[in-house]
């Protein structure tokens, strides 16, 4: 319980085109924990993640990494922040013109200044970690969706991020490919990676998350442990949203998944 806070988001407001997308959002993530953002499309989950690494700078509010507030006006501080905050996108965003190996290696060389040999070794390590060492020479267009997303995880991990932001990492995947990506995420959680994840995979993330944050119209309207929020008689927004999702999916279960590893 006394793990240090890695990431703190305080009173973040973001307006786009006159519309308030984020309205006074605050959260903090302790080392090794997973926070899960849940909520309908347009609730502001993606925008919140993009505000954390200033891909979409917040209008007001503070982002602190390791207790140090980030000065969004300083280009140098921004670049340093982004090196330490990994991001996984819904549609992977692998660099189409680079091989799998180069996708993981490029930032090690161009941003961290590693020499080519060290960068190659590190990149191959990360590819092995996501089970894709044998695909190093292939190009993104030659990979399946699940493989692409695992490469993008390797690319982010190679930078040694203090926290990983995952923006619906399985939403663009065919159902049969979701499992391999979830397995990688579960391994990361087990290894103690600090993460914030927006997802619709509620029952999966319930077994890993230490807190669910339910967002709606730019606000966090509910927060609590998965067990509390998903309890059948909780009457929570999270519970009814989850029930609706599983009804649509037709799998008919919206409850805690079996403990990890099972």
């Amino acid at each position: 319980m006394d793990d240090p806070v890695i990431l703190r988001v305080e009173n973040v407001v973001k307006t786009i085109g006159g519309q308030r997308i984020l309205d006074d959002v605050s959260l903090s993530v302790k080392k090794g924990r997973l926070k899960v953002l849940i909520g309908p499309s347009g609730a502001g989950k993606s925008t919140l993640l993009a505000c954390i690494n200033f891909l979409s700078p917040p209008d007001s509010g503070t982002i602190s990494l390791d207790g140090v507030p980030v000065n969004g006006k300083s280009k140098k501080e921004l670049l340093a922040l982004r090196q330490q905050v990994g991001m996984i996108f819904q549609d992977f965003n692998l660099f189409d013109h680079l091989s799998t190996l180069d996708n993981v290696r490029v930032a090690l060389v161009k941003v961290k200044g590693l020499d080519k040999r060290a960068a190659t070794n590190r990149a191959m390590e990360e590819l092995a970690r996501v089970g894709l060492a044998d695909k190093a020479a292939l190009y993104p267009a030659q990979l399946s969706g699940g493989q692409k997303q695992r490469v993008s995880v390797a690319r982010a991990l190679a930078m040694d991020p203090k926290v990983l932001l995952l923006d619906e990492p399985t939403s663009a995947l065919d159902p049969e490919l979701i499992g391999e990506v979830l397995t990688v995420i579960r391994d990361l959680a087990d290894e103690g990676m600090t993460m914030v994840m927006a997802t619709h995979q509620i029952s999966f993330s319930a077994s890993l998350a230490d807190e669910f944050l339910f967002m709606e119209k730019g606000r966090i309207v509910e927060r609590g442990t998965p067990t509390t929020l998903l309890a059948r008689d909780s009457g929570s927004r999270t519970q009814s949203f989850c029930a609706k999702l599983s009804e649509l999916a037709g799998d008919g279960h919206c409850e805690l998944a079996p403990p990890s590893g099972a």
């Binding site: 690494n53 891909l55 982004r82 996108f89 549609d91 660099f95 161009k110 190009y139 030659q142």
Partner: protein
């Protein structure tokens, strides 16, 4: 009849002279495409990613060079700017009276305007996620544009670029007006002595056709060489 044969003989004798113009034409087109490329890429980057002021400046540049005929530019540059500069003693070491240098610069500046728009279109057609992912890894915009955006955009630009090559090649024939001894200038000179412009015009046309064909063939080969493995041709089903 005798007159025609005489003219044909004279044309035939002049063939090596006319073919010698190929070097000048090739020099013009390679020089101008290179100037246009080296200037067009930064112009395009400034147009797409620059601040509002630099966007306006690029837009102004493009309007200017697209709007003024090349012949007018050649005259203004060669008989105006270059003639003025050549009177300054401190600049006497520069080849200011060379029509070739003037033509390469004018054709290059014009091509830069067109090429910048080709590259701009290619950059805009890339998915926004490419730059976003590069930034998320901590790349500065300069590094991201150099290592992620341009390598992809330049590949996409090759077909339009080969079009620009074929247009500029034929524009280069205007360089004869400021005394560059390229294919067209030599053809006209010979025609003036033989009084039989028709066979010579056919010859000049054939030579330009050959240069167009060879250049486009080479660019097609380049396109295939740098093609990204597994990447489907856009629009092919």
């Amino acid at each position: 009849m005798e007159g025609f044969l005489k003219a044909a003989q004279a044309s035939w004798d002049a063939l090596p002279y006319i073919l010698g113009g190929l070097w000048w034409t090739a020099g013009l087109i390679i020089g101008a495409m290179l100037v246009g490329f080296l200037l067009g890429v930064p112009l395009a980057v400034a147009h797409v990613y620059g601040r509002p002021l630099s966007r306006k400046l690029v837009a102004g540049y493009v309007w200017l060079f697209r709007g003024v005929p090349i012949l007018v530019q050649l005259y203004l540059f060669y008989f105006g700017i270059m003639a003025y500069l050549s009177e300054i003693p401190a600049l006497s070491f520069l080849p200011l009276s060379s029509g070739f240098v003037s033509a390469v610069i004018v054709l290059g500046l014009t091509s830069a305007a067109y090429q910048s728009q080709i590259f701009r279109g290619a950059m805009n057609s890339l998915p926004a996620g490419q730059l976003k992912a590069a930034r998320a890894l901590g790349m500065s915009d300069a590094v991201a544009i150099r290592t992620i955006v341009l390598p992809q955009a330049l590949r996409l630009a090759i077909p339009a670029w080969s079009n620009e090559y074929s247009i500029l090649l034929k524009d280069s024939a205007l360089a004869f007006t400021i005394g560059v001894l390229e294919v067209m200038a030599r053809t006209r000179a010979v025609a003036a002595t033989t009084h039989q412009p028709l066979p010579l015009s056919l010859l000049a046309g054939g030579l330009f056709f050959f240069l167009t064909w060879a250049g486009i063939k080479a660019l097609k080969r380049l396109e295939a060489t740098v093609r990204i493995p597994g990447y489907a041709h856009q629009g092919s089903l």
